[in-house]
Symmetry: C4
Subunit: 376 residues, 4 copies
Amino acid sequence: MLERLRRTLAEHTAAVAAGKVTLASYISVITGTGILLFLTLDTSDDSLAYHSIEGVIWLNIAYFVWEWAVRVRHAYQHRELRAYLLSGSGIVDCISSIAIPLAILAGVEPRTAFLLGVIWLMKIAPDIAGFQQLRRVLAQEREQLGSVLIIFSFVLYAASIIVHVLEREAQPATFGTIPGALWWAIVTLTTTGYGDAVPVTPLGRVIASGVMICGIGVLGLLVGVLATGYAAESRRTRFIKTWELVSRVPFFSELAHGAIVDVTNMLRRLELPARAIVVRKGAVGDCMYFIASGSVAVELPDRQIELDQGSFFGELALLGNTARSATVVTKTEATLLVLDLIDFRTLMARHPDLAQAIDTEARRRMKENQETGRTR
Amino acid sequence: MLERLRRTLAEHTAAVAAGKVTLASYISVITGTGILLFLTLDTSDDSLAYHSIEGVIWLNIAYFVWEWAVRVRHAYQHRELRAYLLSGSGIVDCISSIAIPLAILAGVEPRTAFLLGVIWLMKIAPDIAGFQQLRRVLAQEREQLGSVLIIFSFVLYAASIIVHVLEREAQPATFGTIPGALWWAIVTLTTTGYGDAVPVTPLGRVIASGVMICGIGVLGLLVGVLATGYAAESRRTRFIKTWELVSRVPFFSELAHGAIVDVTNMLRRLELPARAIVVRKGAVGDCMYFIASGSVAVELPDRQIELDQGSFFGELALLGNTARSATVVTKTEATLLVLDLIDFRTLMARHPDLAQAIDTEARRRMKENQETGRTR
Amino acid sequence: MLERLRRTLAEHTAAVAAGKVTLASYISVITGTGILLFLTLDTSDDSLAYHSIEGVIWLNIAYFVWEWAVRVRHAYQHRELRAYLLSGSGIVDCISSIAIPLAILAGVEPRTAFLLGVIWLMKIAPDIAGFQQLRRVLAQEREQLGSVLIIFSFVLYAASIIVHVLEREAQPATFGTIPGALWWAIVTLTTTGYGDAVPVTPLGRVIASGVMICGIGVLGLLVGVLATGYAAESRRTRFIKTWELVSRVPFFSELAHGAIVDVTNMLRRLELPARAIVVRKGAVGDCMYFIASGSVAVELPDRQIELDQGSFFGELALLGNTARSATVVTKTEATLLVLDLIDFRTLMARHPDLAQAIDTEARRRMKENQETGRTR
Amino acid sequence: MLERLRRTLAEHTAAVAAGKVTLASYISVITGTGILLFLTLDTSDDSLAYHSIEGVIWLNIAYFVWEWAVRVRHAYQHRELRAYLLSGSGIVDCISSIAIPLAILAGVEPRTAFLLGVIWLMKIAPDIAGFQQLRRVLAQEREQLGSVLIIFSFVLYAASIIVHVLEREAQPATFGTIPGALWWAIVTLTTTGYGDAVPVTPLGRVIASGVMICGIGVLGLLVGVLATGYAAESRRTRFIKTWELVSRVPFFSELAHGAIVDVTNMLRRLELPARAIVVRKGAVGDCMYFIASGSVAVELPDRQIELDQGSFFGELALLGNTARSATVVTKTEATLLVLDLIDFRTLMARHPDLAQAIDTEARRRMKENQETGRTR
């Protein structure tokens, strides 16, 4: 028992040293930042609630200090101390550990200092797939996003100076300074429209109308750039992940190179837990499945057939039988590759050999099913 | 007469037992939830209006209880009682029936209890095509939607803590707590901008500007993901529906497999009631039509030609005559497949045999028309 | 002179009778509706401004009555009176003519009755290209737009009932009735956010946050559907317009059918007035031009070459010379077809014969130019 | 030293004369317009801050007058004075120079006159890539943007007249005039929603709901048009830039024409400074690199290999080894062309000869590496 704990701890320490974002990191970042929400609700400094929050935060800090120490030691041993300390993650680890204690030492009230815990979010950000994808999209579309931001700034600045001149006498409090007018322009150009600053002179309103219409124009450009970039990036990520899986299906390995690329572009990954229903008997079928990993059970009326990695099923739906003839359930955690009807048809048109192979196998199974007396 | 009523009722009961969303369900859900709108307008508990509303609601509950009972009985007979009771629709049926009576028994004021009727919407939701499509899109894009939501949450949380620190002294009522600042951040990041909480300090406004710009960025990502997913899903749904219709047109059955896939991708379905004008004489034509079901009448000056399932018309427009030479009207409800000029040209380029077939038929008709003395 | 006026009038009457939207219609609709803007600014009924506005409106009504009369007479002569009176345009013509006089007769104050002039906009709407295109997009995407609207309504209704229950005690004035809560839900779901109704209870704000996020989700779906539909519709319209022009360029007529379709998809139309500069000497060139109608002048240092319909120019830019070697100016109004570098390269790869033809012609010209002593 | 300064000045003068936007222009426009921000914050006319701002602005004006003078002189010498003075840039140069002095002479208070400095932004606008791209998009999509704007105006005008009639009695201050109602309609249709004008009557709110839903519809159309146009324009610009670079890589020059077009469409440009890490040893690789300009160093354990323009690296990742086997760092500023895994696979399927060439080179290198004793 104690031995086991020690082993787990050693493994965890190794993972931390290697710079991985461990489950423990996730838990402590999420509880640590989540608890900040409650910090401001209760104003009494002596309540149990406040002391618990305080406790969680100090525990968090202790954990992050330990994490930092492990990494510093590992870097020192590998003679990468300087590189680690100056790297992005090194700086985040350092700030996560010392920001709150330093703030308190500097005389900041603890309640306020604890809010620095929001920095902890940066510990898990690099590990989240969405951020990595976003970073790549931003990197690839940086020229065009830059262009849109420049257009945005031009409209913003010109509008705020014009509206400042037009409105400063009517509303000196809100439009009397250019930064004030700029605030109005940002609120308007993003179509947020708080309503705290609103032009009242006729000319000011004409300019404001132009700004609002530009606002939806800028939105259109930004959406265009981001949507295009995100779609391309997703397609790329998906291809790489699917490509790896396709190689595990022997059925595809005999295909010509061109056909494999086509197939990879068409397949969708589907990750399922154990005992999930993939196909329900009688449901309308519009896709077939290849098993990239794990195994599934086909529940025939009289027996159960088990299919393993590399097999396929559901092909009858694509060959004319639109109602599924049996329920299929995953036996283990499984990764399936899904081929939709539309893509199947396209594939058959382009690569008749592939179609032939599926057709032969399907006919064999159908015959087998009929011999065992099953009718749909 | 009575016999007929009994038969209709039996059919309806069978449909209900099979778990279908019947017309009666639709009607009672729509009237039931629609009437809630008026529940709050009239505050007198004794008015005729209130009693009518009450009546409709109790009638609705009675109907839903009956529906539930039919399904429970059917499930019991088929030994699926437990499965039904724990299934999504079983739970919805149960809550729809007992929520309001239970609430009233528990002492809730009837007027308030009746508002639970909004739950009835869940009875028809699974039957609506849009929801099914949306669910598939959400399922397929869940990774990417998840990424966008995580980015959204990060920006939200970081922004609300920073603005809380910057604004809490200036505006303790709105920014004094982190949940309060979080409310502001959501209102701003979605570009809704109620204006009930607005930063007033210069630094707070700078952060807020960043949040607004992130807001349109997040919007861009979300639109990109949803638009791409929806477009792919629509294309798939459309292909499946059209594929089925294409097989009914003998003209296409002689095509090579590759050509059929191409044609299916190009055709648009068009469902028309009886006596609808498909093509008006003299109008500019930019598409041709294939009849997948039903029949149409071509109104020539001297006679009327009837075309049935499998025929095509309007092809002259694609072969050079841009003005339609005759009016075509549907005789029965009809499903047509429309081929646009652009797709027709592409098709002719890729599959000359198809072009040949259409051309031959068109020339035959044109000659026939000329012989009967018709001029355009 | 008088003869000429009479002829113009007769032509105009014929156009009106044929149901066309004439320039006179446009002018009177635009002045008539435009003048309504000023109707409410000046409250004195005796001012010159008011009498002028009154005059313009009555003049407009007189014109529309005349237009209506001409069309009624024409329809009567062609025995289509009933069809015309019941058609969309017949009803609009009728209402445009009689709405204001009838309202005044019925005792409505003239100032208010005149506002009915906004109906006149419907006279020109069917003639505007944008509306026709929009109508086709709406018709083709109606199923999907319907789905989005149903999802929109579901979220709207459920949210307004929940928020009504949560907020009615805290804010009886705004959330006390369900229609009131529905108003809030629409303002929020469209991310408009007036701020006249804002939830204040913690739970109400959680629901509201969900509604705002759904709001940008619904926006994403709607944008996806409309953007896809509009893009497809534009592509179709553009193809049809370009196809017609391509047939006027002899150069393309010798191409194989497949190549023509490809070329048509790649060309962009460019309509230019007389004396417009198409290409400026020394500018970086990334496209070539075909003349579909009109003529242009190539300004060489020593002479001017005139090119007519069917010729092409600017091809040197695509064959390696990126700086334009001469300025080209339109001599008459001209319609050009533009082929971009990217499409030109693709075209050359797919149809080497086309590339050969352009290359030969380009070399001939280059040699000719060199012989006349011009260097780039 | 003095000689050098004189030479720099002469070069700069020549660049200004040629109409280029020099670095000096950028600096003076940005500082000049940036300083306007502070002009309104400090109200004392005698403070040091104000005098500094004043100084910067007059310095700016002096520079722009000089710039203008240089260009006028140059144009005069080349007998293009009239053309220059009437050209867009000539007018901007003139206004930039004389607007502020003229305004002060005309009696405008200096503080206000200085705000005319916002015009200076127009001096750099034509030089910014984003604006050029935007202008081309607007030019190409002008028909469709026009259609959307017309639909926008129709909805706007009709809604504002209807809401004016419905709300003028309830809220004479905001909806009492049609321009007032129009302001509300713009604020609503762009989903800005300030909340300064909000319908309160039930019917007014129904119309307003319609306007809000139209608002997100118009947004959808606008986004669709702009996103499509921007994507097409970016693709075109990218192709032209990449095409030029591809010709510098000897590896591609042996390809068939069709393959070059395909490759150009697939490659992404990547511009890197000196000493940037391109590939990190051990990282997962999903792309290969071609060097279009500059040079890189491959850091093998025992030595460093330098690769120059025309070479490629990282191809092992695409041939099965997903972990990078060496770190690659740029030695000079370099432009690389990146080929992603997905595109590489497609390319290999379509052009086996290219795949063969990469494969041969990769095998040669791998063997070489193994011989030098390196293991991954």
